[in-house]
């Protein structure tokens, strides 16, 4: 058992090989496109994340 598997198990998460293939899932495609469009229109304010990190340090 590799370290990642052991770590996941400690955290109560089981690693599995039979997760469904969601590559072409219509809901995922729709939701992803909506998110991309939204973030294109309202870009992520990287400075707010940086600011929060800075506040943590001081």
């Amino acid at each position: 058992m590799d370290m990642e598997t052991q770590r996941k198990q400690r955290e109560g998460i089981k690693l599995v090989n039979n997760m469904p293939d969601l590559t072409n899932d219509p809901f995922l495609k729709r939701k992803k496109q909506r998110a991309i469009d939204f973030l294109r229109e309202h870009p992520i304010p990287e400075e707010l994340f940086k600011q929060s990190k800075k506040e943590e340090v001081h």
């Binding site: 996941k8 955290e11 109560g12 998460i13 089981k14 690693l15 599995v16 090989n17 997760m19 469904p20 969601l22 899932d25 219509p26 809901f27 995922l28 939701k31 992803k32 909506r34 998110a35 991309i36 939204f38 973030l39 309202h42 992520i44 304010p45 707010l48 994340f49 600011q51 929060s52 990190k53 943590e56």
Partner: protein, 147 residues
């Protein structure tokens, strides 16, 4: 995040998680996907819904009424934290498929705020701009990243 949650499974891609809701309407499989939105693997979109076994798709409109909303939200919150802790440069975009579901995410963030705020930076989108998450504001969407 020590509240009651369902046992969780994760696929080998470490991006797809699932668990089974159990209640008066039976066992309902839920799927959570952290979908990359860029080739660098920095920006991710959170998707969450019921697994439709027959059609092999996620159903985001299903209302399972299994009397376990809090346990489900606890489980989703746990997977978000697990994902962010394992993808420390990731920025996660979170928006419900309806306003009421976005509101549920907000309730969940508030429920765990004392724990979340120590580990995660949360931004909310409100009235046309992003801002640092404030507890009494109803946001349209969220961004989360590990501190």
């Amino acid at each position: 995040m020590n509240s009651e949650k369902y046992p969780i499974e994760v696929g080998r891609d470490f991006l797809t998680y699932s668990f089974s809701s159990r209640g008066p309407n039976g066992i309902i499989k839920k799927v959570i996907v952290f979908e990359p939105m860029d080739s660098e693997g920095i920006y991710y979109n959170l998707a969450f819904g019921d697994w439709d076994e027959k059609n092999q798709v996620i159903n985001d409109k299903a209302i399972s009424n299994n009397n376990d909303t809090l346990k489900i939200l606890n489980t989703v919150a746990f997977t978000i934290l697990d994902f962010l802790e394992n993808n420390r440069d990731a920025k996660l975009y979170v928006e419900g498929s309806t306003r009421s579901r976005t509101r549920l995410y907000q309730i969940n963030i508030l429920s765990f705020w004392s724990e979340i705020s120590v580990k995660i930076n949360v931004l909310g989108y409100y009235k046309g701009s992003w801002e640092t998450f404030r507890q009494l504001t109803n946001y349209d969407a969220f961004l989360a990243a590990i501190k």
